[in-house]
């Protein structure tokens, strides 16, 4: 751990990526993530082998990522909701071609141009693949700037490990907020060599010709390819699920929330505990794979669940799937860039407790 610095979420993510060996960044301006490309444009040219390029569109940026990842580099792009929609085409191809990369989405309100304020309404898009075809991405949802740093570095390792894109899902608040950060010293784990990368080939050079491709015209071959992808996803579900549980052991009411919303839910939980209501918090850190286990466990003893999101209710579907009808699952959400307040969450739980009596 280095010195403690006060850093903006966006800048901290960019620096963490560079520390993790990211040398290529392709992006396009969109609020509220602009400090990521701005930071990269300042830092990468000063780092050996570093290259920042502002693309002509999000579509071009993600395809530059495809080319750079295909050439074996650690590469990142970032955007916010409307821009991430544009990138979906490329993300689908990147998954199909089994290329590693890191994508950051600082989510803003939608649909359409929506707003530039924080939101979590891209949950479905992020956790169900997002583009066309049958696929998944690892989705990491930091709830502090420090965690954003740690998850960004982890994201590069996970992307390389599985040859699959990893999405960091933040929101305008995580991106714009400044918090103390200690930049961890990055230690690269043992990862397989990128023998599949297109770096130049000739007969007898010791490997097969690299073909970076997502086209499998023979239905049987494509089905095999899809099964192979899903075998990877099964391993991810086994090994990469992350969450944080707080005070769930004796909780009558369990709040499920991620990212920014989880911070507010934590404050609400403390206040409710002071008022004598036993509340716990489950904070998914990976949105995909979704942490079913702690929710199933809590469903054994809790009276009810409350999912809080900055959306009209998306993750709540996954919570309900995990609870599987055993206990009521209520929902509270704000949208349009409005962040739920501690008081609102406290009232929700107090009402649930009242109704239970």
């Amino acid at each position: 751990m280095g010195q403690k610095m006060l850093m903006k979420g966006n800048e901290a993510i960019a620096e963490a990526a560079i520390q993790a060996g990211c040398r290529f960044f392709f992006g396009y301006p969109i609020t509220p993530q602009n400090q990521i490309p701005e930071y990269m444009s300042k830092r990468l040219p000063k780092v050996e082998g570093g290259c920042f390029l502002q693309a002509e569109s999000e579509v071009a940026a993600i395809n530059m990522v495809y080319g750079a990842a295909g050439a074996g580099a650690r590469v990142m792009t970032s955007s916010s909701s409307p821009g991430i929609s544009l990138k979906q085409e490329g993300i689908s191809y990147i998954v199909g071609a089994e290329l590693p990369c890191v994508i950051v989405n600082m989510v803003r309100g939608g649909p359409g141009l929506g707003s530039i304020q924080p939101a979590q309404s891209d949950y479905y898009q992020s956790t169900r693949g997002g583009g066309h075809g049958d696929y998944r991405m690892l989705v990491l949802a930091p709830s502090s700037v420090q965690e954003a740093v740690e998850l960004t570095q982890k994201a590069f390792d996970l992307a390389d490990k599985y040859r699959n894109p990893v999405l960091i899902m933040g929101d305008g608040l995580i991106g714009q907020m400044m918090e103390p950060v200690e930049m961890p010293e990055y230690v690269k784990p043992e990862l397989p060599e990128k023998t599949w990368a297109a770096t130049g080939w000739k007969p007898g050079c010791g490997r097969d010709r690299a073909i970076i491709n997502s086209l499998y015209i023979d239905p049987n071959v494509l089905e095999q390819h899809n099964r192979k992808l899903f075998a990877k996803y099964a391993v991810m579900e086994q090994e990469e699920c992350r969450w944080q549980e707080e005070m769930t052991d004796d909780a009558d009411y369990v709040i499920v929330a991620y990212g920014t919303t989880a911070r507010i839910a934590r404050s609400a939980m403390r206040k409710l505990r002071e008022n004598g209501i036993k509340v716990g918090l489950i904070r998914p850190i990976t949105l995909w794979p979704f942490p079913n286990a702690p929710i199933q466990k809590a469903a054994e003893h809790a009276k009810a669940f409350l999912t809080v999101e900055m959306s009209m209710g998306q993750m709540v579907d996954d919570v309900r799937l995990a609870v599987n009808g055993k206990k009521p699952v209520e929902f509270y959400g704000r949208t349009g860039g409005i962040v739920p307040t501690v008081r609102e969450i406290v009232e929700q739980i107090e009402n649930m407790a009242k109704e239970a009596k």
């Binding site: 006060l6 609020t31 509220p32 530039i116 714009q176 907020m177 400044m178 920014t260 911070r263």
Partner: protein
């Protein structure tokens, strides 16, 4: 202990810097801190504000929707944020640019002649540091020394010669808030 600040004014008045120095200094004092700017299609001269939370516990929301402490540098911000202030809250306002008082009986309002004091010191641009001195005097969340350490780090060697005038501004602001 948790202190929540809302600091608001025109863009260019240095309100974001007041917040950053507050957060940085408190961080170096070992506290948990967060700094959250308003962001949007705002240009220089438009409204700017930031929320700062200082706490000895992990910080929940970095947003300050019902400010217990409001630092108000211009009149539009006074009109905008007075109604949402927490009951019993403290408002420090820049009376050089604000010719009214907050219309709330249930808060404590302290007028600081930020621009006037800064001009008397010979550098009008230190009005925000006058206000920071007042904040320090009234809340005790940080000290002038730790604020100066944070300012030194922010300024870097190029602007080091400006440190004494800024310290004088903070001290004058603290004096005015007594």
């Amino acid at each position: 202990m948790e202190a929540q600040f809302l600091i608001a004014g025109f863009g260019g008045q240095g309100v974001l810097l007041i917040g950053q120095l507050l957060a940085k200094a408190a961080m170096h004092d070992g506290m948990n801190v967060s700094w959250m700017p308003s962001y949007g299609p705002e240009m220089r001269g438009g409204e700017a504000n930031c929320a700062v939370v200082v706490s000895d516990e992990p910080i929940g929301s970095p947003l300050v929707t019902e400010p217990p402490i409001a630092v108000i540098m211009n009149k539009p911000s006074m009109l905008k944020f007075t109604p949402s202030m927490e009951k019993g809250g403290l408002m420090l306002y820049n009376s050089s640019l604000i010719d009214i008082e907050p219309d709330r009986e249930d808060i404590t309002a302290v007028a600081i002649d930020c621009n006037g004091i800064a001009e008397k010191l010979g550098n009008a641009r230190t009005a925000n540091m006058v206000m920071l001195g007042a904040i320090i005097q009234r809340t005790g969340v940080i000290s002038i020394d730790s604020a100066m350490e944070a300012l030194k780090a922010t300024f870097g060697p190029k602007k080091e010669h400006l440190l004494p005038i800024n310290r004088a501004a903070m001290e004058a602001g603290a004096e005015a808030a007594k």
